[in-house]
């Protein structure tokens, strides 16, 4: 498992692996928002938590088709499926690698981009916590979507149509935490619910992902 994790991380870091693309996308979305809604800092401060969450979600989505596509093309996915390691574990490792290369950088970059959007001071801690707890769910759900569409030509658009509705609860609770935190309200309840969704998704979805991957490899 660790060898697979290291291999995936290395592949992502190498040129053409797409590491950092999600981060750049996140940056660009954040920069574009003031152009769209105007530069009033009060307005930006109000919408900052939501925009940052949405940007992180889209950046996550952007990199999903890479989770299985390369391994599918060169056939190493078949090897993984026949390896002694259960496919469920392999899928979990893939999701973890996706999170480490996409989710974690987004979490770390979010406060910096919060400065750009004039995020109120109490919001930073909550934003980072909510993203740290929410992005694993995004990665796991995205891995499921990627497993569903792995065999398809031009599955990218379909992937977003399938995955985005699944992201709704995570986005609702995550953005709620950031918003409540930014306005100084109590944010523990949505935070716990967000953590619950992440924990549940991590525990159960690898089984679904592995099941659909087996169907696709049949």
């Amino acid at each position: 498992m660790i060898a697979l994790l290291i291999r995936d991380l290395r592949l992502a870091m190498r040129a053409g692996g797409g590491f950092g693309l999600g981060l750049a996308f996140f940056l660009i979305v954040t920069v574009l928002v003031p152009f769209g809604v105007g530069p009033q800092s009060a307005l930006l401060a109000t919408i900052a938590p939501g925009i940052l969450w949405l940007g992180a979600l889209l950046a996550c989505l952007l990199s999903l088709d890479r989770v299985f596509a390369l391994d599918w093309e060169d056939g190493s996915l078949d090897l993984l499926a026949t390896a002694p390691l259960p496919l469920e574990a392999a899928v979990t490792v893939k999701a973890l690698a996706h999170w480490l290369t996409t989710g974690l950088p987004l979490v770390l970059a979010a406060p910096l981009l919060g400065v750009l959007l004039n995020l109120p001071a109490p919001g930073y801690g909550w934003l980072v916590i909510s993203l740290a707890l929410g992005t694993p769910a995004l990665s796991v759900l995205g891995t499921f979507g990627a497993a569903l569409t792995v065999g398809l030509k031009r599955g990218g658009l379909l992937l977003s149509l399938l995955v985005l509705p699944l992201y709704v609860p995570t986005l609702i609770f995550g953005a709620e935490v950031a918003r409540r935190g930014a306005t100084g309200m109590e944010a523990t309840t949505p935070l716990l619910l967000l953590a619950g969704i992440s924990a549940g998704a991590i525990a159960l979805l690898p089984f679904a992902s592995a099941a659909v991957l087996r169907v696709n490899l049949r």
Binding site: L148, T149, L158, L161, P165, L193
Partner: protein, 250 residues
């Protein structure tokens, strides 16, 4: 008949030939009954019930809105059950029935949303509000869209049936989560249940009985459409099998 024999009798309808034979006999009755219920219910509702003292005649859209909303949700539930049957017992008819139900359910969702908007404009002063019920219905519609898109994207029918079934299971969990998450996210404008076991919440009896007739009509219409579309799917698959055999023989 013992209970296991009864179960076998039920599963025998999973045989496509028997399914087609039975549904073909039922189809005319279903069409007539659902048409009759809809005509009676809608005419009764539209022309022979009083206007509401506050909402005027707009209240009558309830005869389309409530039944379609009900069938939108029950359609998804039916797809969930059919997906489970496919995954567990691998009866092709159930996978095809799930596929056949999806567009019908999606259309029901659209009817519910559109009639709600038409009612909401004069009543709430807006076509759309980010109310929990409205929002969760829109999300349900997105789930229908994704489900149908996945079916049409995959060529191999068995693979498609497997993948969409798993998507339906996972989607059901997250649709339910969304349903309650949006409650958390925004306060509601939509009234509570119009129909429930608890009679206190119900609409008045003058509206209630024609509404029940309309609901019966929508349920029958849904069943008829799903049977019809399932039959079409079965025949389409037979044609494909025959063509494949011909090509192999030639």
């Amino acid at each position: 008949m013992s209970s296991s024999e009864k179960m076998n009798a039920l599963w025998s309808y999973a045989n496509p030939r028997k399914f087609l034979a039975v549904t073909e006999r039922l189809m005319p009755w279903l069409w007539i009954l659902s048409g009759a219920c809809l005509v009676i219910g809608l005419v009764w509702g539209f022309f022979f019930t009083p206007d509401d003292y506050r909402q005027g005649s707009t209240v009558k859209i309830i005869y389309l809105h409530v039944p379609s909303a009900l069938m939108a949700i029950n359609g998804w539930l039916m797809m969930l059950v059919m997906s489970l049957i496919w995954l567990i017992r691998r009866h092709h008819v159930s996978a095809l029935a799930a596929r056949a139900a999806a567009p019908v359910g999606a259309v029901m969702t659209v009817i519910a949303l559109v009639t709600g908007a038409i009612w909401g404009q004069p009543m709430w002063g807006t076509w759309w509000a980010w109310d929990p019920r409205l929002t969760s219905f829109l999300i349900l519609f997105l789930f229908y869209l994704g489900y149908m898109a996945l079916w049409s994207a995959i060529e191999d029918p068995d693979t498609a049936a497997d993948l969409t079934s798993v998507l339906c299971l996972v989607g059901s969990v997250f649709a339910l989560l969304s349903r309650y998450a949006v409650n958390f996210w925004n306060q509601g404008l939509h009234q509570g249940a119009s129909l429930s076991m608890d009679k206190k919440e119900n609409v008045a009896d003058v509206f209630y009985i024609p509404l029940l007739v309309c609901i019966a009509g929508f349920v029958l219409l849904f069943i008829a459409l799903v049977f019809y579309r399932t039959g079409t799917e079965i025949r389409a698959r037979r044609i494909r099998a025959l063509q494949a055999r011909e090509r192999a023989g030639a």
